[in-house]
Amino acid sequence: MKGILAIYRREMSSYFVSPIAYIVIGFFLVITGYFFSNILSILIERSFMAQMQAQQMGAPPEMDVPSLVIRNFTGVIATLLLFLMPMLTMGSYAEERKRGTMEMLMTSPLTELQIVVGKFLALLSLFVLMLAPTLIYHLFMSFYSEPAMPWRIVWTGYLGIFLLGAVLLALGSFISSLTESQIVAGVITFVVFLLLWVLDLSVRSATSTTGEIFKYLSILQHYDTFAQGVIDTTSVVFYVSAVVLGLYLTHRTLESMRWRRA
């Protein structure tokens, strides 16, 4: 536990002395802020139109603007993460390997598991720090919300994003552990995430059995149910397993670095 904490603390302090964390978080907040107001204004406009139409036709207007905003907004965040997460994970192991500090960590009385867990928890904390400020947007919306703010969808949506982000972090740091170059790690991670995204787009309309299988494997698909306000156990299990798999593979890479019997 002490070992994990030592690694965790060093990682956390290292994020905030390099510009990269500030750049990623700043960029993330600007973009999400932009999209939030955009989505909000488009949906408000649409609901006015719907209302007007409804008055002319005499049918009751039914459009839950806050829910739609949250749904669309969390979708934007999910997509954005695919592009930003590689920047957070690319250095986590590659940089240690390049600087030779990995050799120090591995010849210290630390287990590989302590290193992997400490680093992952630090990345996860950084991610939460990045995500948390966006809750303020929802808080603002809740002041003017009509009908009342559906906080449940906010929480489940963010839980989904958190889990999705954890998977991406585990996957990205695994890729980082495979190379000594953080640029290579960053590019490969980005390409892999892009493939996940393309895969997701292409399976959305799929109906065949193979399509269904890919749908299950698409990490973005699992996110959808959370955005509907539902905590789907299958999806939670899926995400947690994916995280564990990523960490396990990283662990194996570190082990093989040490016990590289040639």
């Binding site: 690694i7 302090s13 002395v17 030779g100 500090t101 050799e103 591995m106 210290s108 016990w259 019997r261």
Partner: protein, 314 residues
């Protein structure tokens, strides 16, 4: 304190370390001398638990480096060829981190960090970012890192490489100052470095041990004095008295072979004199049987050709 027994490390077909054995006593500084590619780093990585040996064993403080790696890792400090530094940390924060991962108990950490900075003369740089330090200072941080948990054994891989002459002098003094309390192995490809810092030397070449001796003996051997190995059948006292008549010999070590009338001896002569012919005739005329005579140390010359024998500013 350190026992290396028939250690072998293969990379595919190639053997980087080929059947080496040696021991280091507590408090000793052992020099690991050899040209580039000799297998110094590989051996040290095996001792520190970073690499597994292909065959053979190594023990540190009685613990097997492979089977009881954690115990070993608690007891060693290791400075790899490139100091393992985090450039964006301050000296003090870095050493505190290392102390934590080495398992120093929380209440001892600040004291140990203080002590390691004092020993390496870093105290007035404690708040400085590592990336702003000069090479010599970075190397000191590397050494401080290796001793912060007060390990029994300190392993330093080419600790003076890339430093200027002043920095080299400082680092050597620093290492000398650490002996006694710590058992130290340091590797180098510079001959004068072992002369100045080490008690004993292991000369390694192409993965094999070429010689193990005290630094004094090795340098004497190298700086001229010739050594001749003989084996004789006959009385040891007669042999000694005959040899003492030969001019130009500075040392005669004779040892009777147990269970036979054989005597083996190691004879050293003055610089630049090959006295093999004189020794041979003296022995034979003395009525003794000369079974073997050969100059030793000659094979070392080949190795030393590859070693840097002169100090030069890197």
């Amino acid at each position: 304190m350190i026992e290396v027994d028939h250690l072998i490390k293969s990379y595919g077909q190639a053997r980087a370390v080929n059947d080496i054995s040696f021991k280091v006593e507590k408090g000793e500084i052992l020099g690991f001398l050899g040209p580039n590619g000799a297998g110094k780093t590989t051996t040290m990585r095996i001792l520190t638990g970073y690499l597994p040996a292909t065959a053979g064993t190594a023990r540190i403080a009685g613990y097997d480096v492979f089977e009881q790696s954690m115990e070993v890792r608690k007891r060693i400090g290791y400075l790899p060829e490139t100091p393992p530094l985090y450039p964006e940390m301050t000296v003090e924060a870095y050493l505190t981190f290392v102390a934590r991962i080495k398992g120093v108990t929380a209440s001892d950490i600040s004291g140990r960090v203080e002590e390691s900075m004092r020993l390496t003369n870093l105290t007035d740089r404690r708040k400085e970012l590592i990336k702003r330090l000069s090479r010599g200072y970075k190397q000191r941080v590397g050494i401080a890192q290796a001793i912060v948990h007060n390990p029994d054994v300190v392993i330093l891989d080419e600790p003076t490489v890339g430093l200027d002459p002043n920095q080299i002098k400082e680092v050597r003094n620093l290492i000398k100052g650490l002996s006694g309390e710590h058992t130290i192995i340091l590797s180098t490809h510079i001959l004068p470095e072992v002369e100045m810092t080490c008690d004993r030397v292991v000369i390694i070449n192409k993965g094999r041990i070429a010689a193990i001796d005290t630094t004094d003996n090795l340098t004497r051997q190298l700086k001229g004095g010739e050594r001749v190995q003989i084996q004789v059948r006959g009385d040891i006292a007669t042999l000694r008295s005959k040899l003492e008549e030969v001019e130009g010999l500075i040392r005669i070590d004779l040892e009777p072979q147990e269970g036979s009338d054989l005597v083996t001896g190691s004879i050293e002569s003055e610089e630049g004199k090959d006295l093999r012919a004189r020794i041979a005739s003296t022995v034979v005329h003395g009525g003794l049987d000369l079974l073997e005579i050969r100059a030793v140390g000659l094979s070392l010359e080949d190795i030393f050709m590859q070693l840097t024998t002169e100090e030069k500013a890197a």
